[in-house]
Structures are given as structure tokens and as C-alpha cells.
């Protein structure tokens, strides 16, 4: 079990992410963690749904939400999901350079998403004076969307650390699971976003 050598055609297993026990453990562990995250976000969604009409006289969701920006954000994040799929595709083909490239694109898309979100929040605060403290609805909105944004931010830092650390090393059985596990996490962020744009924004527009 030597970790330090890059993979070559002879040593490249079909699923490098699960070839070692450590890798398998990481893989299983992250998936289980996502099971817990599901409950975490469900609780946040539940709180949001329970409080979304408690505006205490402040602006309501129909008044403030705009769909254009949310649509752009959605496309950014969905695309970043695809690019991370590409990265994993190249990982399985043992093409490290391409994997790096696609991961960088993934990261950039994520960054774009995050910028839009920050812009959106600032917009709400400055234009509508709709803040975290203005009503229970405000608290619930910023908490739910903010938790998701926090996950994106964490994902980006994680990705950056991975890319930098392994920049010159090539693919091996020690870092392949790390990349794979990151991509799983990234997809999950997308899953959550699908519900956020549906439940918060679209349903918020419908009323």
C-alpha cells in the first residue's frame, strides 16, 4: 500500500476512489454525512416554511424576490455540477491535467454563484431594508439561504486546498478519494439549491 507514487496504466484501478480501505471509508463516511445533512437542511426548510408569512409588516417574498438573478445562479450551479462530473470522468481515465482543469472551472462557477448571492443579499438590505433582524421571515430566509451559501464557501475552500496541495503530485490512490468525495459534496450542494430555488424563490413568487 504505497501512497506516494502516481498511478500508471498497470496500477490504475477502475474506481481509484474506492481502491483502498481508507478511500472506501472516506467515500462511505461522506455519503453518510450527507444523510445527516439532509436532516439539517430539512429542519432549516421546515423553519423557513413555518415562518415565511411572518413578515411583521416588512416586505414579503412576493415583493422582493426577482427571478432573473436566481435563474442565473441556478444555471451557474447546475453547470458546475456537470463540470465536476467531467473532472471525475477524467480522473477515472487517469488524466490528471484535465481533471484539474475541470475542477478549476467548477470552482470558478461556484465563485460566480457566490458573488451573485452576495449581490442579492446586499440588494435586499439596501433596497428593501429587508434584513436578518427585521422579521421572523427575514431571519428564516437569511439563515436557510445563508447556510447553503456557507456550504458553497466551505466547498470552495476545500477545493482550493485540494488543488493547491496536490498541484504537482499527479493522481494517486491517496488523493483520488479526496477528489471524489469533494465532488459528491459539491453535487449535494446543488441538490440543496434545487430545493431552495423551488421552495424559497419560485414558491415565494407564487405565494
Amino acid at each position: 500500500m504505497s501512497h506516494d507514487h502516481s498511478l500508471n496504466p498497470e496500477t490504475m484501478p477502475n474506481e481509484p476512489e474506492k481502491a483502498t480501505l481508507e478511500g472506501k471509508n472516506k467515500f462511505t463516511g461522506l455519503w453518510f454525512f450527507l444523510g445527516g445533512e439532509t436532516v439539517l437542511f430539512a429542519t432549516l426548510f421546515g423553519t423557513y416554511l413555518a415562518l415565511r408569512n411572518s413578515t411583521a409588516g416588512g416586505p414579503s417574498s412576493e415583493e422582493i424576490f426577482g427571478l432573473e438573478l436566481v435563474f442565473i445562479m441556478t444555471i451557474l450551479l447546475l453547470t458546475s455540477s456537470l463540470t465536476s462530473v467531467y473532472a471525475m470522468y477524467h480522473m477515472k481515465n487517469n488524466n490528471y491535467k484535465k481533471m484539474q482543469l475541470w475542477l478549476i472551472i467548477t470552482g470558478l462557477l461556484g465563485l460566480g454563484f457566490l458573488s451573485c448571492e452576495i449581490y442579492e443579499f446586499v440588494h435586499y438590505i439596501t433596497h428593501y431594508e429587508f434584513t436578518f433582524r427585521s422579521s421572523a421571515f427575514g431571519s428564516a430566509f437569511y439563515t436557510l439561504v445563508g447556510f447553503h451559501g456557507g456550504h458553497v464557501l466551505f466547498g470552495l475552500s476545500w477545493l482550493a486546498a485540494l488543488l493547491i496541495r496536490n498541484g504537482k503530485r499527479g493522481l494517486n490512490l491517496y488523493n483520488a478519494p479526496k477528489f471524489y468525495v469533494f465532488s459528491l459534496y459539491w453535487h449535494f450542494i446543488d441538490v440543496v439549491w434545487v430545493f431552495i430555488f423551488t421552495v424559497v424563490y419560485l414558491m415565494g413568487k407564487v405565494g
Binding site: N8, P9, M12, N14, K18, T28, W31, F32, L34, G35, G36, E37, T38, V39, F41, A42, T43, F45, G46, T47, L49, A50, L67, F71, T74, I75, L78, S81, L82, V85, Y86, Y89, H90, K92, N93, N94, N95, K98, L184, H187, F188, D190, V191, V194, F195, F197, T198, V199, L202, M203, K205, V206, G207
Partner: protein
Amino acid sequence: MMENTNSDNVNPYQKQKNKEEMKKQLITFAAMIVFTLIAFSIVATELMPSMFVVPILLILAVIQVGFQFYYFMHLKDKGHDMVAVMIFGGVFAAMLTLAGLVAITWW
């Protein structure tokens, strides 16, 4: 987009399989984009009464999420049994939580 690179790096059979898998994932992605477009447009155009819109939106979201899980995250592949158990455990607990907070709080 998917030109062959360093074709000597992985055995050809596996390579072919990966490629087919990738094709499926591309189709999945296209479907997700379409779903998203549908969801946004029914809200933007306000063609339907909200009573219908909400369930449709939710169904679209669930299908999209299914795509993510099963294709992008490979939940359909073998070796994912325990993983699926835990995810569905999470979904089960999540549904109850939602039921509690959305419905029961207000009875």
C-alpha cells in the same frame, strides 16, 4: 469536448465504459436544464393557478434531485446499498421534520 486523451493510460474497455457513462450524464444534465427552464417559466408566465404550480414545482425538483443522486453521484451503481440506506434514512427523517414544522405547528 470528449476527445480521446492519452488513450494508453487506462484499459480500452474501461475507457469505453466511462465514455458511455459520460454520455448518460450529459443527457441527464440536459434534462435538468430543461426542468429548470420549465419551473422558472411556469412561475414567470403566471399561466397556472398557484394551486397547481406548487405541486408541479415540487415534482420537478424531486426528479431533478433524483438525477443528481442517481446519475451524477452514482447512487445507481453497485456498492451503494448502504449508502442508499443512509440517504433514505435521512430523507425519511427529513420528511417527518418537514411534516412537523410545516403542518403540525399550526394545528
